[in-house]
């Protein structure tokens, strides 16, 4: 028995489309600016556009992770037949037991890992925002060097975040 709830659709939008295809690709593009393989007309504006992509939907992503435990838990099966017909006195212990068993079978670790990865990525972005705000209006390659190495760290953390979100289940599983 399985359900594919809205959370799964939102995960596709946020993790696959926005984070991986949007943010990580933009960061690699920014890395290209720093190394000189991409030459935009306005370096500072291009870099800002790339790195500010995080701010577009990072709050939504954080919210998605917080929603996971509620929306992807098998306890939601108790909201629909046949389990919704379960007597209240049985449901009162069976539903939380189902949820707890699900968490104990690796789910707690996975969601905690995803949340930790989010925090690491977010703090790396805060650092690079500070770095960018110190750049001159027409930065040279030397001016961009500190940002270059931070970008690599940022890309790695975003990728780790994306991987941890991909590792969460794709369906509400029965335990």
């Amino acid at each position: 028995m399985s359900i594919s709830p809205q959370w799964q659709i939102d995960r596709g939008q946020l993790n696959h489309n926005w984070l991986q295809n949007g943010v990580v690709v933009a960061l690699n593009h920014a890395s290209g600016i720093c190394t000189g393989t991409v030459r935009p007309r306005d370096i500072t504006r291009s870099l800002s556009e790339d790195i500010n992509r995080w701010q577009e939907r990072s709050t939504e992503l954080s919210s998605l992770l917080n929603r996971f435990v509620v929306e992807m838990s098998p306890r939601i099966y108790f909201n629909s037949p046949p389990l919704s017909r379960c007597p209240e006195e049985t449901r009162s212990w069976l539903e939380p037991l189902t949820h707890e068993l699900w968490l104990q079978r690796g789910m707690r670790e996975k969601i905690d890992a995803a949340k930790a990865a989010y925090q690491k990525a977010d703090s790396a972005f805060q650092k690079i925002y500070a770095e960018l705000s110190n750049l001159p209006s027409s930065p040279t390659t030397d001016d961009l060097k500190p940002a270059c190495s931070q970008l690599q760290t940022l890309i790695a953390r975003c990728q780790a975040l994306a991987d941890s979100i991909s590792a969460l289940p794709h369906r509400v599983l029965c335990c």
């Binding site: 799964q8 596709g12 290209g32 991409v38 030459r39």
Partner: protein, 620 residues
Amino acid sequence: MTSSDHNSVPNDTTESATSSTLPRILVIDDMFGRQVQGRPNRERANLCGMYGLRDVTGDEPFPSDEEVVNPTAEAVFFRGQQPLCATVGDSVENDLGATIAFVRKGWHTDANSGPTWALVLLDLCFYTGAVTPDSNNAFAGMPVGRAGDDDARSYFGLTILKRLREEFPELPVVILSSKQREEVSLLFTEAGALGFISRTDSAGRSLLGEYLWRHGLTPDPSGTVVGTSLRLLLALRKARREAEGRQNVLIRGERGTGKDLLAQYLNRYGTLDNERRPFVTVDCGALLPSIWKSELLGHKRGAYTGADSDRQGLVVQANGGDLFLDEIGNMIPEAQEGLLRVIETREVVSVGATSGRVVDVRFIAATNKSIEKAAEAGTEFLPDLLDRLNFTKTIWLPPLRERRSDIPLLVERFVREAESSCEVAMNRQIRPNAMNALLAYDWPGNIRQLQSVVRDAVNSHRDVEYLVAGHLHFGIDIPAEAENNAADVIPPIISPAVDLPPATEPVAEQPERPLSTDPKNLNGSFDRLVAGFHEQIADVVEACLSAYSDPLTGKVNYTGAYRLAVSPSEQSSNVSGDAKRWFRMLFVGKNGLVAPLPAETVAKRPLLMDARRWACGSGS
């Protein structure tokens, strides 16, 4: 939802015209291939920057505000879905038919005279469904997605991949995806992809370059080996693969196919690092008994009378690079022994030297002979050297008749070369009748012969602005070497009759008559009709054979006659093989579904009798 016509590309993209030598790749991806109204596709621009791609799709409404430095390839993007440019309220659906049609547009077909795909980068997961205000705000024109879109068992990218493998088996496809490789590796491998690039891999640009080198169908960017036909590109790719790791290589092919140019190509592009290395050519037939040692191995001062100084041999000159042994089948046995020693020991001992010198040389040998037969005879070629060469990689260069679509490029090159080498020659246009004649001929002497014919035409007609069919003199030239696979060699050149009326005219000229329903007239009418039909087919085929008959010798160019009779859309790249099969079908039928020409119809026509002997063997 816009309905799709699988025979055309809706919301047509217009590719930018370029004269670039960059390979052209096709990227099939829902997000990066989508068209965006009113603003640049920022995601696509970022992807291009990341992978070193120059976007030539031609659907961007605004000029790019950045430049990709030293791009790896030109890229055309395609969404794989309908509509290509979606807005709020639209429903985005996968469109396999339009995708395949788009791929076909850029593949090796008669309808395409432009650049062809070197490689396809293919996404796996395509999101479908409604475009809502929220999803449009996130990514313009992108849908919300449906639950099954993200299910690995039903990735639309795998559906596309399987169709591509069926319809374009030689087209290299590499997956470009943000999915984790381990999750999808078995799926895409079984479906026929050649590799995988993670969309989030920072080394994606160099990885793409590697895939293009190893799998891409790319012409020679230096222009040394001219051509863009599929046969040639497959040979170039095989050459790069076989030469990887600087292994010795044997190049085989008919005379005049450009084996020396392929050797130069290997020297330049035969390794991934594209480093320039020494390239030394040895004319093996010119190594006479008195000079081969000194030429090949070098000598010390005083080694013999006349050796006034040290001399580096050709092998040492090629140290660190490639030694090209042209026509190794012509090398005298003593030189073969000396060469064998060098190949085995990787050491050169000059004449008069007391010790050897270690060398790092790749040996690229070329021959149009059957050195196996010579080795069997035991006199002309050393079996040990043959064994050494047979352990190396072998690359076959196709004859010109199997890569006819390259003829226009070669003709253009040779015309300009001939004009520039002859100061007074005028710059000329090549008329269609001349090009058709050049395309129809079978070139037993291959590219060298083509060059000779074109040069002769230019030199003989210096003061004209056009190259026409009448300027071309093909001459009679039968290949001397039996190794040119005599069974398939077409009899020599005959100038085609360019004014032959289309074959359909005899049929079209039949007066239309109203069909009589009188039983007396209909009695036996079908048999009479079939007999008349056979006579007419025989008349047409005989006329085509006659057009390609040499009036002096009576020899017939069967491939030319076939090309005249059968429309180009029915012809494949293996025209000589097609010609034989087609004539055979005329005389023996096919699988009980196609009836042969009646024997009495053929017996009345000597040209058909000869054609039957050629196609079916002399016993028929």
